[in-house]
């Protein structure tokens, strides 16, 4: 029982990341009709936003290391520490949360310029060409990251204060053995909050209402004299922000490297297929579901029975869904069923 | 009515979308070699009926029997292989291929069945298919070398008709074959369809244009709100009080 609970917990944060990316993919597809193969790159850019802010904050100067007295030793000391002492250290420690503030306008800008600068020229072209051009863009972004940050994962730790684990087990009256890293708990809460905010935005604002109506029947909304295209551009920016934030927050969990974007994109696509293309709820539900399944599959007990199952579980689920229920878990009947 | 010369029998077909009854209690027999027109106001369920016939839609109840064989639940290609061809309301042709290839494709289907693996055979060796296609294209008055995507709307329809005819179907379903055509094009299409009639092909035509209907049909069924309200020869339908009410009084 405890083990099961632990695995569900373990799957939730990854599921949160899948859900956030898949949500953006679905939004972009539903509103603009674009299949964005560069969406994973947005997630990656978010993560590298954290990396860059961390690098920026720890810009260092060579100073003499006073602790070594036998010979002249030098060490790197961040300017922030030199200028502000302990406050500087604290600021550096909070690099990831600070990155969030920076990431929101930055990702919005990236998202909007991506849509205005490239994607809008592809509305009238075939799906294959849309896929190909965003695929090319994904390669370009990935290689730029590789050229700037190298090929190795870059550790981007969370603030010290949340580096430990929460004793969830004892708090809930279960076994003490159930502990869960604070940062993952934060990630989970964060993704739930962001998802809720996006849904609330779509559900309760006039803007969201128009977007939903536009997803349903674009021409109709256009006829009503509403400029759907501009609204959809903003939605694309929103999707970019969501993916970027998911990336920033994920950096402490998985040190980002240049192929993190494609890794998550492929899985998020599978999530979208399983959830049902065009269904926002389906994308979210399938995201969490597959995260949990993956976490179960990585248990040693399971792996000893089915070796390698953790690598393929998500694809297996996708295959089964496709064979049994081609429109996905929550897809509307008749939408993209062929 | 003798059963032996009934080609198509639509038996007690129901189809509803949500709460809307698109078709109810449809019972219809089409006799071999006749042209059967289905008319009715917009939204009467004419296109739904055709879609049920070719397997695009599956009826909630009832059956479509073609030549003694039940079509309900069969996939579109099986229904076509059984001998039913259809001309769509908006022409469904291969816009990237030229007119000749457009007509050769259905001939291949007729010859080779629904699947045949012959990647090393040359198309050029199939003189029969080639000659037949050329003949048909000449019949409908098109140029075999033209790209079909750049044809006029009327020519696209003619091409689609040629594609269907090339299969020598026992039953040809036509969904508004003259919609959007000029009077001149309409008349030449009527002539073409009359020519087919001489070949003894059975046809079911959905049509708005009464001029077309009365110059082609042997029998007319009138559909309104998903039901057949009248069925008979053109003369009978013309004089039917129910029909006049549906069209004029409604």
């Amino acid at each position: 029982m405890d083990a099961i609970f632990l695995q569900i917990l373990n799957g939730l944060d990854k599921g949160g990341a899948y859900a956030l990316i898949a949500l953006g993919l679905t939004l972009a597809f539903g509103t603009l009709g674009i299949v964005n193969f560069a969406h994973g790159a947005l997630f990656m850019l978010g993560a590298f936003c954290a990396v860059s802010i961390q690098a920026l904050l720890t810009l260092s100067k060579k100073v003499k290391d006073e602790s070594i007295t036998f010979f002249d030793a030098y060490k790197e000391q961040p300017y922030l520490e030199i200028w502000w002492g302990d406050i500087g250290t604290t600021i550096i420690d909070y690099a990831v949360p600070i990155s969030i503030l920076a990431a929101i306008p930055l990702m919005l800008l990236i998202g909007l310029s991506m849509e205005r600068g490239l994607i809008r020229f592809f509305y009238k072209r075939t799906h294959a060409e849309q896929i190909l051009v965003t695929f090319g863009l994904a390669i370009v972004i990935q290689e730029l990251i590789k050229a700037n940050f190298g090929a190795n994962p870059i550790p981007t730790p969370a603030p010290d204060i949340v580096s430990g684990s929460a004793k969830i087990g004892s708090a809930l009256g279960l076994s003490d053995a159930i502990v869960y890293p604070w940062w993952r708990l934060i990630y989970l809460s964060f993704s739930v909050v962001v998802l809720a905010a996006v849904f609330a935005f779509l559900q309760f604002t006039t803007f969201g209402m128009v977007v939903r109506a536009g997803m349903h029947d674009r021409d109709m909304v256009n006829l009503m004299g509403i400029d759907v295209e501009r609204k959809f551009t903003i939605v694309f920016g929103l999707a970019a922000v969501v993916a970027g934030l998911a990336g920033v927050m994920y950096a402490p969990i998985l040190p980002p490297d240049y192929h993190i974007g494609m890794d998550f994109l492929v899985l998020s696509f599978v999530v979208v297929v399983v959830g049902g293309m065009g269904s926002l709820g389906g994308a979210v539900a399938a995201g969490f579901l597959l995260g949990i399944l993956q976490s179960f599959a990585s248990m040693n007990e399971v792996k000893s029975i089915f070796p390698g199952i953790d690598q393929i579980i998500i694809y297996l689920v996708a295959v089964i869904i496709l064979l049994v229920r081609p429109r996905g878990l929550m897809g509307r009947k008749g939408v993209m069923e062929d | 009515m003798s059963l032996d010369n009934t080609v198509l029998h639509i038996a007690d077909v129901h189809k509803s979308f949500g709460g809307l009854h698109a078709l109810s209690d449809i019972d219809l027999s089409v006799k071999e070699g006749t042209t059967h027109a289905i008319i009715g106001p917009n939204g009467a369920g004419k296109s739904t009926l055709l879609n049920v016939c070719i397997g695009r839609l599956i009826p909630d109840r009832g059956a479509v029997i073609f030549d003694g064989e039940e079509l309900t639940g069969k996939s579109p290609h099986e229904i076509n292989q059984a001998g039913v061809a259809r001309v769509f309301q908006t022409p469904e042709i291969f816009t990237e291929l030229n007119v000749l290839d457009n007509v050769i494709v259905p001939i291949l289907s007729k010859r080779d069945g629904s699947y045949r693996f012959n990647p090393m055979k040359s198309l050029k060796q199939r003189r029969g298919a080639y000659d037949e296609a050329m003949h048909l294209i000449e019949d409908v008055g098109l140029n075999p070398k033209d790209m079909s995507g750049s044809l006029s709307r009327g020519d696209k329809r003619r091409l689609e008709l040629a594609m269907c005819l090339s299969q020598h179907p026992r039953l040809l379903l036509l969904d508004e074959p003259t919609a959007g055509m000029s009077r001149h094009d309409t008349n030449s299409t009527i002539d073409l369809l009359k020519k087919i009639k001489e070949r003894g092909m059975t046809k079911v035509v959905i049509e708005h244009d009464m001029h077309v209907v009365f110059s082609l049909a042997d029998r007319i069924s009138v559909l309104a709100e998903g039901r057949i309200i009248a069925d008979g020869t053109p003369e009978e339908v013309k004089n039917s009080a129910v029909v006049q009410e549906a069209y004029l009084g409604g």
Binding site: V35, A128, L132 | H77, S114, Y115, R116
Partner: protein, 378 residues
Amino acid sequence: MLPKKITDSELSIVLIFSAVVLTMPIWLAPIGAGYPDLLQKFAIFGLFAIGYNILFGMTGYLSFGHAAFLGVGSYAAVWSFKLLTMNVLPAVVFGVLFSGLFAFLIGYVSLRRSGIYFSILTLAFAQMSYNLAYSVLTPITNGETGLQLTNHDPRIIDTMLLDQAPEGLPSTVLFGVKMSGYPGFYFCALILILGFFIALRISRSPFGLVLKGIKSNQTRMKFTGFNTRPYMITAFVISGMYAGLAGSLMAVTDPLAGAERMQWTASGEVVLMTILGGVGTLIGPVLGAGLIKYFENIFSAFNDKALHELFAFLPDGLENFVVTVVSPFVGEGWHLTLGVLFMIIIIFLPGGIIQGMEKINNRFFKRSSSAKSGSNES
């Protein structure tokens, strides 16, 4: 009128193609591409792209998973070298068979859907294969190190035929001829010609016409009595077998296989080759493959020093600036160039080089033909 007739006859097309391919060592020498290693790559990737075009060009189904079949072909070939014989023929046959089988499995599931779903699914399956090759399948793939020949491989057939084991690692042979250097290239070239001939026949066969029909209007195909699914699966398997063939030839020219051949960027590369040359044309993919591999060869060789030499004629400040701008695109950064090229081609020339040339040619040809008809009248 002559060119028209020549392009119509299959025999002359294949003869011209063969002549061009077999004389590559001669006419590519002046541009620095006339050495066997690169020529082998031209032939192998040409084959890969021809096969890919049978799927994407003829049916319009965009697969992002073809690198997986390439990888399977390589692994199967290396295993054939390890277990059976260093003769390349069984290796090639096994490469094609296993990749065909693998393509059938993946195609059977992926072809349940069309359009974007199909692309997503093939990408997902390729990533899955790649992950598996690195993890659980290590006994078969030898993980990150890659599968290589060793001194204690059984090589059953070879040991039966030979009395004493040869010293050191054996090389791949075709009945005694070592498959490295030019013999290796000519072997690949002959297979390329064969592959080209088969693709030519397919595209002119009734089967090929059906595939084109599916690309153009799948709905009409169904209502015309074609069961499109088996056609699609067949096309998918054929193009998977071409990929496997290319993979096995990679192992023939250099007997090792690694999982990186299955990565998504490798799948993307073959898509780019096909599009760059011209989707749906016969010669385009070969052309695209050759161009990409040629420029990869040139670009990868550059480093900062070479760049400085290249731009030495510029004033110092400008030279440094140009080198800084250019250097991310060369050497290790070749993939960046590839990505940029990818986008440029899709944005400006989606029909590829062949279409671009046709456009130019048409303008040119039309002018000359109208001039000719004019002179006839006068």
